[in-house]
């Protein structure tokens, strides 16, 4: 049983932020999160660090922060699943007494001035004219970046279940509608399904508007014991449950790669721990490196049957005013790209009721997902503004 809560949230400037190191942004995010919680940095005795594309923030961040003596300090990396795993790790450390107040921070600066967004994902093999061995064969095959590999997964779903590009587009359109009310979102111009369909191919079947942004910046959260969190500056966001699951890419007959993801096991574990089912979820903040990631996560979490994700996301269900509030800040497609900190930060804002014009009508149960690799790593959190009733209290 978790009795941890998120007490602070710190978000630096995001997007085309140039001339600052990832470490500098990480330190600022931690300071902002501590200030948000109303605690001095000296009260922080745990530090979990995640960096993204550049992997350039280390545990020396502790020196830059002048925290108190630390009981927990490490870098972590499960790609986009890391943020959820950091919060779970912090909650476990608090439960066992390793630390009392843990800062979890993500920072990355992949964007460079005068370079395309795609260049942030450039391969070091790009300039090599002669390529050796099986790696060269693979390069010549041309399936060498996440856009292409996720497109393969989306195509597989389309072939198996009849999912369409327009259905994926419904996800992008819904998230843009939410983003219009998020001051932090990079993309706030109205978007129609026609805009999605007319946007250029990135890797058919994925259009440009199926793909996430790339951002520089940092986000941090402060996790502490729920009892302590209730006396701090902001309303606590209680951590009801967590889960993580990882699948290797088993390229062999019988593989369900791209069709079923570790979201299935991760989501089931988190909801079991929290004592909820998908029908209890008011807000879902789902990792959206691509529109397809949202669709397959909805299926794997059990919001609909496998293969019915396309129909499920249609008819504005995920948009403002729809039946299920999903990615209420615009997500990584329209908001900002901070790996798993994008859905987590928006979940905290929604759980606190700080969403302003985009606040979901109900926020008692907020589900957060993280996804990394090519649908290979997954984390899930169940958050709530309410302290969870223990089973004994429920039955009493």
């Amino acid at each position: 049983m978790s009795s941890a809560a998120i007490a602070g949230l710190g978000i630096t400037e995001l997007g085309k932020v140039y001339g600052r190191s990832s470490s500098s942004l990480a330190a600022e995010a931690v300071r902002l999160a501590a200030a948000d919680a109303g605690i001095p940095l000296s009260a922080v005795d745990g530090l979990l660090i995640s960096s993204g594309q550049k992997q350039d923030v280390g545990i020396t961040l502790a020196n830059a922060l002048s925290t108190g003596p630390l009981g927990l300090c490490m870098t972590m990396n499960s790609f986009g699943a890391t943020a959820g795993i950091m919060v779970a790790t912090a909650a476990k450390a608090i439960a066992e007494g390793t630390a009392t107040t843990v800062a979890c921070v993500f920072a990355d600066t992949p964007l460079k001035p005068k370079q395309s967004t795609g260049a942030a994902w450039g391969s070091p093999r790009a300039s090599t004219r002669e390529i050796a061995g099986l790696g060269g064969w693979s390069l010549a095959g041309g399936a060498i970046n996440p856009n292409i590999l996720y497109a393969m997964c989306a195509r597989r779903h389309m072939e198996r279940y009849g999912t369409t590009s327009e259905q994926l587009g419904q996800i992008a359109v819904a998230q843009r509608a939410w983003a219009q009310h998020n001051p932090l979102a990079a993309m706030r111009e109205p978007m129609t399904l026609e805009d999605h369909q007319n946007s250029r191919w990135i890797a058919d079947p994925l259009h440009l508007l199926d793909c996430c942004l790339v951002s520089n910046g940092a986000v941090a959260v402060i996790v502490t014991a729920a009892d302590r969190a209730k006396d701090l500056a902001k309303p606590p966001v209680h951590v009801w449950g967590w889960g993580q699951a990882h699948e290797v890419r088993r390229m062999h007959r019988g593989s369900d790669w791209g069709l079923v993801t570790p979201a299935a096991r991760s989501g089931a574990a988190a909801m079991r721990m929290a004592g909820i089912g998908v029908d209890d979820v008011d807000v879902a903040e789902l990792y959206d490196c691509y529109t397809y990631t949202v669709l397959v996560t909805l299926e794997d979490y059990g919001f609909c049957e496998k293969g019915e994700g396309g129909a499920f996301v249609s008819d504005g269900r995920l948009a403002p005013g729809g039946k299920l509030a999903v990615n209420t800040g615009g997500g990584q497609l329209s908001g900002y790209y901070m790996w798993g900190m994008t859905p987590l930060s928006e979940a905290i804002i929604q759980a606190r009721g700080e969403g302003g014009a985009r606040q979901a009508p109900r926020n008692d149960v907020v589900l957060v997902s993280g996804n990394g690799g090519i649908l290979e790593h997954h984390s899930t959190l169940v958050l709530s503004p309410h302290a969870r009733k223990l089973p004994a209290e429920v039955t009493a």
Binding site: G133, I144, M152
Partner: protein, 157 residues
């Protein structure tokens, strides 16, 4: 902005060079044979890059020649080169194919009409010279829809 001459573009298949670990693979390719791996313990056939057996976990793997026949699992039409050495290749089709023997390969699909493809389509290995037109590279396994292969055979007959 001028359109580059075709000769200014890299070839559709960058010049791939063998290394010590892939001498047998590329020798087989030059003979028109697709060399993959097979588990010595349980006979499971594995992709060339496998390090351990998917079935039993053994790392005792050895080379084996496969039929080169398979079926299409999924594919992508790539219109924007992900790296400069593929600039001469776009638009191209990357695909996952399942060999009849079981393993999946991520490969280039050639001579394919992307609008006519469907999961489960029969495909067959073929071999192309990498780096054609400049410094010559190794022969590379690629796949083509069997329909076009059959047509080619009929034309020869």
């Amino acid at each position: 902005m001028s359109t580059p001459e075709v000769s200014e573009l890299p070839p559709p298949f960058p010049a791939v060079q063998r290394d010590r670990a892939t001498e047998a693979f590329f020798d087989a390719a030059s003979r028109g044979e697709l060399l993959v791996q097979q588990c010595a313990g349980c006979d499971t056939v594995l992709p060339p890059e496998a390090k351990t057996c998917f079935s039993c976990g053994s790392d005792n793997l050895g080379p084996t020649v496969v039929s080169g026949r398979g079926r299409l699992i999924t594919w992508v039409v790539v219109t924007h080169a992900p790296v400069p050495v593929l600039a001469g290749a776009v638009p191209y089709v990357s695909a996952v194919v399942e060999l009849d023997e079981g393993p999946w390969l991520m490969v280039r699909l050639v001579d394919a009409d992307p609008t006519a493809l469907a999961a489960g389509d029969a495909v067959q290995v073929d071999f192309v010279r990498s780096g054609a037109g400049e410094n010559t590279g190794e022969m590379l396994p690629v796949f083509r829809p069997v329909g076009s292969e059959e047509n080619a055979t009929e034309e020869k007959a």
